[in-house]
């Protein structure tokens, strides 16, 4: 079993872990002091050299993103993505509720690095405790001089405010979040321009996931070389894996990237419930393609999961045992995406609805064999043809489910067919 002492989840089990005093006792805000002694470019270089890639799903190199912000822009923003909604994912909620200062310290360092004097926390409207914890953490950080004017005597100023979303999965997509922060419908913008060039109110904006930001203080404190020594060739550092579904011990497990799915499921999450076998795994949240039991030895890393035909996504591992009805699983995931489609792009809005109607008929035993080609055709008419990645994300579970569990789909045809 991989030996790993948690870094990101070191605090969350401590009593009063959310309080600033607890965070300071554990060495909190030392990384901020160190970062403020460095130049912004040195901070960006450190993050670049660490190899950190975004933990919100896309896996874009964080330091590289920061370097895209135009140096001469007078106004720049940082947006903190606490809109965790990808089915199977529950890591950011844990950190926000139990260790908000770990993220906030990362926010301040990131803002210093890119030269943003204003940061916006965007949090799911459903996360009521999280909202309270964010507000309290920010208020305390002001009191201790970690926010506001001339932070720790560095001359750097930063203000942070909290904004509640109101129930829309799509607002986790960075440009939809920006629209929502502006008080509008959360409909994604066409990219490019990317937010780093033109984001909130068309000013350069860095949008960063909570788990990503929680890594920053550790990188600054222990150095890029330490961080780059963890993980695989293209996937550095520790990752919080959210394990749910048919396992004995569902929960958040922090492990180095590159750990195998088998180890996560069998050794950390206690194996499949009732001693059953694995049938299918969704490795990175509902929008990532499914894997099967013969792929359990794939390392959980960006490059290895891509080679296996899936993606690391948010690191949300959903385990399904041999009794699972894969037609129903596919239908439920589709229903989620159809409900959450913002409706802006026709392929996603109309195509998704057509796919769901077909899956409903199939599940009810009312579909003819030609439905398989029809589902393929509809998916091909959506994937890659929408403003945001949700259109493709909607189709991944369908196309992978139909490919991997074809027999279960065809078994639903009426006997006459």
């Amino acid at each position: 079993m991989t030996q790993w002492t948690p870094v990101l989840l070191a605090n969350v089990q401590r009593p009063n872990s959310e309080k600033i005093g607890t965070y300071l006792d554990g060495g909190g805000y030392q990384a901020l002091r160190k970062a403020l002694q460095m130049t912004p470019d040195e901070v960006i270089a450190e993050v670049k050299n660490s190899g950190l890639r975004g933990r919100g799903g896309a896996g874009f190199p964080t330091g590289t993103k920061w370097s895209f912000v135009p140096k001469d822009a007078p106004v720049k923003y940082l947006a903190v993505n606490t809109d965790e909604g990808e089915p199977g994912t529950f890591k950011d909620r844990l950190i926000v509720e139990r260790d908000p200062h770990a993220i906030l310290e990362g926010v301040i360092i990131a803002a210093y690095a890119v030269g943003a004097q204003r940061a916006f926390v965007y949090i799911r409207g459903e996360f009521f405790l999280g909202v309270k914890r964010w507000i309290k953490a920010i208020a305390d950080a002001y009191e201790y001089g970690f926010l506001g004017k001339d932070i720790l005597g560095s001359g750097f100023n930063l203000d942070v405010s909290v904004h509640r979303g109101a129930g829309a999965y799509i607002c986790g997509e960075e440009t939809a979040m920006i629209e929502s922060l502006e008080g509008k419908r959360g409909e994604p913008r066409l990219k490019p321009p990317y937010p780093a060039q033109e984001g909130l109110w068309y000013k350069p904006t860095i949008v960063q996931n909570c788990e990503t930001l929680a890594n920053i203080p550790h990188i600054i404190e222990r150095g890029a070389a330490w961080y780059a020594g963890i993980g695989t060739e293209q996937s550095k550092g520790p990752k919080i894996f959210c394990v749910s579904g048919h396992v004995n011990r569902p929960g958040n497990y922090e492990l180095p990237l590159g750990v195998t799915l088998r180890e996560i499921i069998e050794e950390h999450a206690g194996g499949v419930r009732y001693g059953r076998k694995v049938k299918a795994i969704i490795p990175g949240g509902a929008s990532t393609p499914m894997l099967t039991a013969d792929q359990l030895d794939v390392p959980m890393a960006f490059e290895t999961l891509q080679a296996a035909g899936s993606a690391l996504g948010t690191g949300a591992v959903i385990v399904m045992d041999e009794e699972t009805d894969m037609v129903e699983v596919t239908r439920r995931i589709t229903r989620f995406f159809v409900h959450e489609s913002c409706g802006e792009c026709t392929p996603c809005r109309v195509g998704g609805q057509r796919i769901l109607e077909n899956l409903d008929r199939l599940a009810a035993g009312q579909a003819e064999p030609a439905i398989m080609q029809e589902l393929d055709r509809l998916s091909q008419g959506i994937m890659g043809l929408t403003f945001c990645p949700m259109g493709t994300g909607m189709c991944e579970p369908i196309t992978s489910g139909m490919r991997l569990f074809r027999d279960e789909f065809t078994a639903r045809f009426p006997e006459s067919a």
Binding site: P87, F90, G125, E126, F128, G165, G183, C242, S244, A286
Partner: protein, 158 residues
Amino acid sequence: MSRNDSTDPPVGSALIEPAKQAMLLSALYIAQEQNGYLTPEAVERTAQRLGLSERDVYSTASFYTLFRMQPVGRYVIQVCDGLSCYLADGADTVADYIGAKLGIAPGETTPDNAFSLEKVQCLASCGTAPAMRVNDQLYEHLTAAAIDAILERLMGEV
């Protein structure tokens, strides 16, 4: 350039103050507090306060599921319909159980306006499934006994 340039007023426009418009979601939460949903009067007042048209306010409000245009019960029970809750024998099971106890289906409100039942998308409680929210309170690891206790307590408060 962004596609938004053609339809949205530029930053600093006299038509809409960006900073005021950015407060719209927060304002809608406040506007919704009093009646549990957004009354036409609340929308009108919100629009006036923020210098927006009622159309703009409706446009934004109708996009988000937590803003309601219809009255709801005093307690809104939101059962997670996510995949992990389904795999944990929750989702349909929990919604059906509560629906049978209250005599309503998802999307309905009890005749005394005490409870509304909804199925909602993933609540990020997959590791502690099945889960539901009642107003702003999250409940996890749901069992029949736990649900009974929650409903009994809420009924006592109605």
